[in-house]
């Protein structure tokens, strides 16, 4: 990875306060990023305990080594990259597990009320299918989708986080979109068509 992208001479003020030992700044860093880190962790490795342990280690180590940490340009980029490193260090087996055998992350279909509304609405059931289709994607594609379309990272930042080159990110996103189209077939076309005439 190129250090230029991660570290900077324009330091993040909250990060600087934290480096000086400000406990409230530390708590604030945690509060700002914990939900996104948990979601990203669960998308990357679908084992809650592994994710929780990795995040716990990450923040404990951050606090203990705060004085020696560099200034960073993008705190989330730094945290995501560090978390990913920990997740894979602690879960080397993951790559060998085919995605189909991994129990699906708690589905959103568990509320009967939501189901009722869904059943009323044809279009909505299509959306549910797309949600389902995303969960069928290989882990790395899901990870890339989460980073790009939820966390809002650029392709270059995703390359840094996932430790792959820029072109590989483009390919991952490309494959994910192709896969979604394949899984969904006409539904996606229909959905897009319906949306475009509204």
């Amino acid at each position: 990875m190129t250090n230029e992208d991660l570290y900077s001479y324009v330091p993040d003020p909250l990060w600087e306060r934290f480096k000086k030992g400000d406990q409230e700044a530390f708590a604030q860093l945690y509060n700002e990023h914990i939900d996104n880190l948990l979601l990203y962790g669960m998308k990357t490795i679908r084992k809650e305990q592994v994710v929780k342990d990795a995040i716990q280690d990450l923040f404990v180590e951050l606090w203990r080594s705060r004085e020696n940490l560099q200034s960073v340009r993008s705190v989330p980029l730094y945290l995501f990259k560090s978390l990913r490193y920990k997740l894979f260090r602690e879960n080397k087996m993951r790559m060998e597990v085919p995605s189909a055998s991994i129990p699906a992350y708690p589905s959103l279909l568990d509320s009967s009320i939501e189901m009722l509304i869904l059943q009323r609405e044809e279009e909505c059931s299509h959306r549910e299918k797309i949600s389902h289709a995303i969960r069928q994607l290989p882990c790395r594609q899901q990870e890339a989708i989460n980073l790009r379309f939820y966390q809002g990272f650029s392709n270059e930042q995703i390359a840094l986080i996932m430790d792959i080159n820029y072109q590989s990110v483009i390919n991952l996103i490309h494959k994910a979109i192709l896969q979604l189209r394949k899984h969904l077939g006409y539904i996606l076309t229909l959905l897009i068509w319906v949306i475009s005439i509204v």
């Binding site: 409230e24 700002e32 939900d35 009320i113 797309i130 379309f149 809002g152 897009i192 475009s196």
Partner: protein
Amino acid sequence: MSEIEELLQNDDFVRWVLGPDEASQRYWEGWLRQHPDKAGIFQKAQELVRYLHGSEQRDADLLKQKNIAPWLWDRINEEIKAGAPAGRVVSLHPSRTHRPKTLLFFRWLGAASLAGLLGAGGYWFYHRDRHLPPAVSPPLAGLTVKASGRSALECINRGNTPQRVHLVDGSLIILGGNSSLHYEKFLQKDKREVYLDGEAFFDIATDAARPFYVHARGVLTQVLGTSFRIIARKEDKKIIVAVSTGKVAVGAEHPGTTNKVPEYILQANQEVVFDASLRATGRMPVTDTGLVAKPDLPEESFSFSDVPVSTVFRKLSDVYSVKIVYDEQQLSKCLITVSLDALSFEEKLALVCKVLGVQYREEDYQIVIEGKGCQ
């Protein structure tokens, strides 16, 4: 690479869809003017990004319900304090009850309010400072409730302070300033329906058999049990529906048509804005997270300890604007201790009657209590 995908791979495009600002808005509007032939593709790409984001958002909301963050923060602090890694076996079986509440934990609570100014959770504080009423307000203070015909009620909030309106099904509506609400006292048998002019936050009790409808200046919102805000002020020339939890279906009610198929299904933290001619902007992530934060009005307490039953009936009658008829002489000596919080009107009434050993029935849009009571 298809043209749609080119947009999906464009960082600036994705960034704009996820969080538009003035500069990017200008840029992409300009782009669209220069490429009118690509309008269709543009819209499809935009909708796909929103969809992908929405799908991830739902997973995020579900995960948040597990409330892992505070627990994990405690673990982190314990480990930092202990100066050595905490055993993983312990972390598999969290026991909040035996954990001493550390100073750092309270610090976290304080910091949470600061951090919150930036994050979604903390809008709450910002909101409280700006709009919220004094901590204690008597029931229905500032709210005018008028009978409208025999069976309907009209609640008008002429002040600036939000006011609670309790419906008999257990739903709570927080009516904004200068707003009014119109509904059937006992709601309907097959549906629940209210009419809003102005602004309100709805926290609707779940009842899958009776959908809840809100009519607001030509926009119909349909839910089964969820919370959301509607802003439909005449002077605004627009109508906003923003969802806090669950799902709602929203659509324009075109006069003369019976077509009630909702146009949009909104999920938590999504909104749709209609202009004066009821054209909608499309489904978007909420722009002002304050809209979807539940207003922090003090809870109405329905706990009674050794009070005359008339006090309980008066409270119920005040809060739900429903007349309760009973024989005061016969029941005047009955003292009652009961907690009715978190129950619907009917459940409250049933419980009180059970305690007293009396029956109630609904007659002519009133409640009639019958029986000897405690004597």
